[in-house]
């Protein structure tokens, strides 16, 4: 339905609150004009003499209208926020901060019912997690569509991870459907649930609990327009998960941020160990050798947390622990080229072992962020890799101290 601030035509969402005002800027001259409670929050009043001192009609003491809310829809069953389908600077900045790990666990949307466009009792209902990035993806893909968005409480976690942890679940969807009174808001009895929610949602249980049939939506929200065009049917491609270089690269900042704290502690320990040598402990030696081994250690972090995710399919081997070693071979190559011959070979080997071990471990930990590694496989490779990684570190430290003498 075309959006129009003029007139009181039915938006399909039940009766709207009409604020009678004179209108001088009506797009359709023959209509009786009246600003409606459906007008955009940011719109200047289209009607009457402008009066900027009037608060917007949706203000409530103690509440704040969020930047992604365009206006409110009034229906017989309640008032629902209509969201913007375009992302604003604030949304995009929020995504970037979250990708860097800032406030990541609290980047949430309040659970409940939202509107895209002007949905009515026949409009589709799309279920989303209350992770703001998930919600943003969905509202952007619903541009031009009149639909309901049912946001469920996943404690600010994305659909797939939440489904794995059973917070995106049969129980939560069922409760939320009842809480918002969805059976009174729409006439049909179906909800679109993202396919990646399936590890936590039993479609037949939801049906049994609520009477609503679960229609599995596409994996990626970008396919929603086509899915709607197909009369809510996914084709094979919409059901498949991908893991492109871009998808892998956005994961890098969080990987790096997550190891930052522990890395600083390890570097501190490396400095201390580097001080030992003839005459027990030397400050100069600590600084010189400490910086050197830290450089190799950081190169290992870079290999495990940056090179491995970005170049994943190009690194040889199936176990990630092995991929991590290859990544470290690449990342330490320039250092080896520069330092060989300048320091004792035992020292060089020690530093390389440190880099390989950390990279191998981080690569292995990256399995948790990929969409294709099975926990059984990860456990299998860990049982073999962790003893090797630990042994490397122990040998490395012995060699490193030994090399100082």
């Amino acid at each position: 339905m075309k959006e129009d601030n003029c007139g009181t035509q039915n938006c399909g969402c039940g009766p709207m609150v009409t604020i009678p005002m004179e209108n001088s800027a009506c797009r359709e001259p023959n209509q009786t004009c009246g600003g409606t409670a459906d007008m955009d929050l940011n719109d200047e009043a289209c009607c009457g003499p402008s009066n900027h001192t009037v608060s917007n009609p949706f203000e409530k003491p103690g509440y704040k209208i969020l930047p992604y809310v365009k206006r409110f829809h009034h229906t017989d069953n309640g008032t629902y926020p209509v969201i913007y389908n375009d992302l604003k600077f604030k949304d995009k900045a929020g995504t970037v901060f979250t990708r860097f790990g800032y406030n990541r666990s609290h980047y949430k949307v309040s659970p409940g019912l939202y509107c895209s466009g002007a949905p009515d009792e026949n409009s589709d209902v799309f279920v989303s997690a209350n992770y703001k990035i998930s919600f943003d993806h969905l509202r952007r893909s619903l541009k031009g569509l009149d639909a309901w968005i049912l946001v469920i409480d996943t404690m600010g976690v994305n659909v797939w991870c939440a489904a794995g942890k059973k917070t995106f679940s049969t129980g939560e969807i069922s409760t939320r459907i009842k809480n918002v009174g969805l059976d009174k808001i729409v006439k049909h009895r179906k909800i679109v649930v993202p396919q990646l929610g399936a590890p936590g949602v039993s479609a037949r249980e939801v049906k049994k609990n609520t009477g609503f049939k679960v229609v599995w939506g596409p994996v990626y929200t970008k396919d929603i327009p086509k899915f709607v065009e197909n009369k809510l049917k996914t084709d094979n491609d919409m059901r498949k998960v991908t893991f492109s270089m871009a998808e892998r690269t956005v994961l890098v900042p969080v990987e790096v941020m997550l190891v930052m704290k522990i890395s600083l502690i390890i570097i501190l320990a490396l400095f201390v160990i580097s001080g030992f040598g003839p005459g027990i402990f030397g400050i100069d030696r600590m600084v010189d050798r400490g910086s050197l081994i830290s450089l190799f250690f950081l190169s290992g972090i870079f290999a495990g947390a940056v090179v491995t995710p970005v170049f994943l399919p190009f690194l040889p081997g199936k176990p990630f622990a092995l991929k991590g070693i290859f990544a470290a071979l690449i990342s330490t190559a320039p250092l080896v080229y520069f330092y060989h011959g300048k320091i004792a070979i035992t020292g060089l080997i020690a530093m390389l072992l440190v880099a390989f071990a950390i990279s191998s471990y981080l690569a292995m930990n990256f399995t948790g962020a990929t969409p294709y590694t099975s926990p059984s496989g990860v456990e299998k490779e860990m049982r073999k890799a962790i003893p090797v990684q630990l042994t490397s570190v122990i040998i490395a430290l012995f060699l490193w101290v030994f090399a100082a003498f």
Binding site: W160, C161, A163, G164, K165, Q195, L196, A198, P199, G200, V201, S202, A203, R204, W216, V219, T234, N236, R239, K240, V241, T242, F243, L312, P313, K318, P319, Y361, M364, N365, F366, T367, G368, A369, T370, P371, Y372, T373, S374, P375, S376, G377, V378, E379, K380, E381, M382, I386
Partner: protein
Amino acid sequence: MKKFRYLKNVATLKLDQEKCNGCGNCTRVCPHTVFKLENKKAEMIDFDACMECGACALNCPEEALTVTPGVGCAAYIIQTWTGKEVGACC
């Protein structure tokens, strides 16, 4: 996803074709096209693509599918080894 292959023969996924009623739910929820419907029975056409998410088993009305689902990151698995009660990490 075909270029991403993880370890072979490790998934805990099991299909009991006797029980399968051919509803096709597994083909609709699997993100890695592990299943195909052949003569009204589900078939595993790509077992090694299974990442044990558990979607198929949860949505199989006949309990013909079983899998041990879990979170596949190393830090989490180490925590389970040490026997601590832990939250997932991703």
